[in-house]
Symmetry: C2
Subunit: 191 residues, 2 copies
Amino acid sequence: MKELAERIIAEGIDLGGGILKVDSFLNHQVDPILLFHCGKALAGYFYQHAPTKILTAEISGIAPALMAGLELGIPVVYARKHKPITMANGVFLATAPSHTKGGEITLMVSGDFLKPNDRVLVIDDFLASGETIVALARLVKAARATLIGFGAVIEKAFEGGREKLKPWGVPVFALSRILSMDSGKITVEES
Amino acid sequence: MKELAERIIAEGIDLGGGILKVDSFLNHQVDPILLFHCGKALAGYFYQHAPTKILTAEISGIAPALMAGLELGIPVVYARKHKPITMANGVFLATAPSHTKGGEITLMVSGDFLKPNDRVLVIDDFLASGETIVALARLVKAARATLIGFGAVIEKAFEGGREKLKPWGVPVFALSRILSMDSGKITVEES
């Protein structure tokens, strides 16, 4: 996706340690029109697999998931990291280590919104180590729903997350792939 | 907004203590098409005030803010509640008590994304006590940007938040107003 790759090159900041800051259009400030295009592209790729629901993780996954859901006309569920008092029992849990926050996060989804007849597309902002996305896939499995694919806005290809997703046997699609970040120079491959 | 009022009546759950659970379309599972319509309605109301940026708070404010931003063609900034390692110095802070989580929350916005020449529309999912929205307004003020209005998807009119927003002297618009929640019966006024 050319528009996205250009924004990453123009505005992405390599913070070192493999961390890419894209706070100006994806993670703190969001460009709704760019994200609308990202959602359209993700929806177009996965449409043939007939998803009935999108699962993402709060917080930064919400924008691309919502825009893909808008295009596909299906609900978006965001797994929560902090249990709100409105969340009752019957909750699926999965844990993942967090690289940008440190420690471990627990993802929670109410059993009301993931059912065995759902065909679930997992979407997140980043595919990096793959840990968060695998945790989302585990939630799908715990609900005995059908996983149909993994979508991401930006893949950090050098972190090997794609390998971790292989055993799930579903398509993986990222809108742009960062091949390397060396001394501040970011190399992006369009999808 | 008729479509929204109908969903609140059909799916909203009165948890007692003034807490309304709308997890099936707004707060955990999101209906992107409903939110697209909410965003269009908010955008239509505030368009005349020429906003250049939308400010909301993570997490549940993101969906309506993003959809209003899509319609207006302007960026959306979400104030963070937990400082990510990608957030550098030059951050504006404001605190607010949290009724659904307990304790106090701190909202943070990078100074990179709120500037004195910005005309800021504050949007959140709920206008309840008004504390979170006032905290967002304080962030706008701290950045010496211009506040142009307050928008919400659902107002809990019986919590008096609208009164707290009056001193700011800008329009307040909610897409639906809950007049009362008594013994599980929810009374909604359309906007």
